[in-house]
Subunit: 110 residues, 6 copies
């Protein structure tokens, strides 16, 4: 199974469990989370890159994977994804390196 | 193996290694960690929910699993566990979502 | 000015600026944040203690001050606030000590 | 003194001390930090917004102030700054609210 | 007032409040915190530098100030303090820069 | 496969992907990261212990594994590694325990 497939599979099973048990606060939060990345003053592609950098400095592999996939869908090039990750690395430091490894292995697959 | 079994197995092996090598500071810390959740002005159930929220906002899957199991043993209902996780989600943001997925999949098993 | 007055004053000025400029996502988030602490399966007092522990381990002085004030309003005793902070200290470590200093100085004032 | 002036003054004094004492590793890091925001595949304005979101989710007031000032210099509108902060709020949660207060008070001044 | 005096004053007032209100868990934690830096397999000077790097990457100004003062008391040179901070900067990233400014301004005073 | 082998294998594959795609900023960061641990005012062994404590309080298992291996290569004893981890535990709190389990299981293997 590719990294992308493993992520999507894990995400689907998890989201099913969250939706089965989540209360109103959790459901409203998830709706708000979806809306935050809608095209606005900032184009959708750049919003996904914002989400990617936030995920990278907070060091969440599944969040990084999600925003790489979404950024690519919105038309971000490999170079844009790489540059966003380089900003994250400088802000967040060498502690991000293991997450960059995962990110670039996923980017390799796409 | 269920998520609960995998966690308990991983925890047991790890704790054995910690106790084999840990120095006096580490052993005293572990004793203090146990004492902090004892019934006091706050009932044991609510202390476990405090530990659960702390673990969730700090995004530690094994710590979340431990406090869900302990909270349930102390009589916390599913709704109480879910509400505690919803407070954590609002405080800690969408970066917690992958950890919520794990938490609700475990809650599903119990 | 007491620590409580300084906090409330700073919070008021800041909230005015947030509401003047915040977009729909920010306004909806703030509404959700308010709702998360409503009495539910977990009593309001214990929800404020959950918010306090989350704020303490994430080391946000203004958030700690807010939840100490709210927990006291909801009937939490000094001992309950102290016990919640002791759980936070064990989970989050000595890096929390400067925030505990602020928290106990505020508790002194109340 | 305005928030902007206080920040610039504090930053200048601090940077003087860093440059007086910093070793080669620190000086090279600072050079790299400057280069990371140069126009590339991603325009400079959007790189500053990436830096802003990274700073916001990592909750560093001075870093937020710096990237708001730089983003405005690179042509970011108030709405773009606000939207970037709204993405940060959803990713990073309510623990960011005190930092948003500071950010919007600064934005008020500009 | 110098930065050192301001820190020591703030610390004293805070510690008084912590000791006045802290429960047994908090008092035992504080004792353990003191013991962790005792000379052992690692000399006291290097333990203080470990505490300094931990404080720097976790971005706690008062903790950084404390360990700079203690490291200097245990015989650490300015160059050793600077090198420890440069390791912290590379591990923790540019988000540490405002804390380095504070650290080097304090080092300037000593 | 031992924990050490699994780590080295994962690291190798990841580093290949990083070097294949990384831009100039990323490459310069990696070079700087290597240099930061060179013998200087602080001996290389103690620099690795600084890197270990930074990695532990920031809770990065692969970074912890790397610095344990490097510290041992530079002559750190088991007791020195354990003491460094005990400082990290007190600074960073019980949320580090799952990472200590991993660290001591690796130390067991060496």
């Amino acid at each position: 199974m590719t990294k992308k497939e493993a992520f999507l599979d894990r995400r689907q099973r998890g989201n099913d469990a969250v939706l089965r048990h989540g209360d109103l606060t959790i459901r409203r939060f998830l709706a708000l989370d979806g809306d935050a990345y809608r095209e606005g003053a900032i184009p959708a592609k750049h919003k996904e890159l914002l989400g990617l950098v936030a995920s990278a400095v907070l060091r969440c592999d599944d969040c990084i994977a999600y925003h790489i996939l979404r950024a690519r869908e919105e038309g971000a090039t490999r170079d844009e994804v790489t540059e966003a990750l380089s900003v994250a690395l400088v802000v967040g430091g060498s502690i991000l390196i293991p997450h960059l490894r995962e990110a670039f292995e996923l980017l390799d697959e796409l």
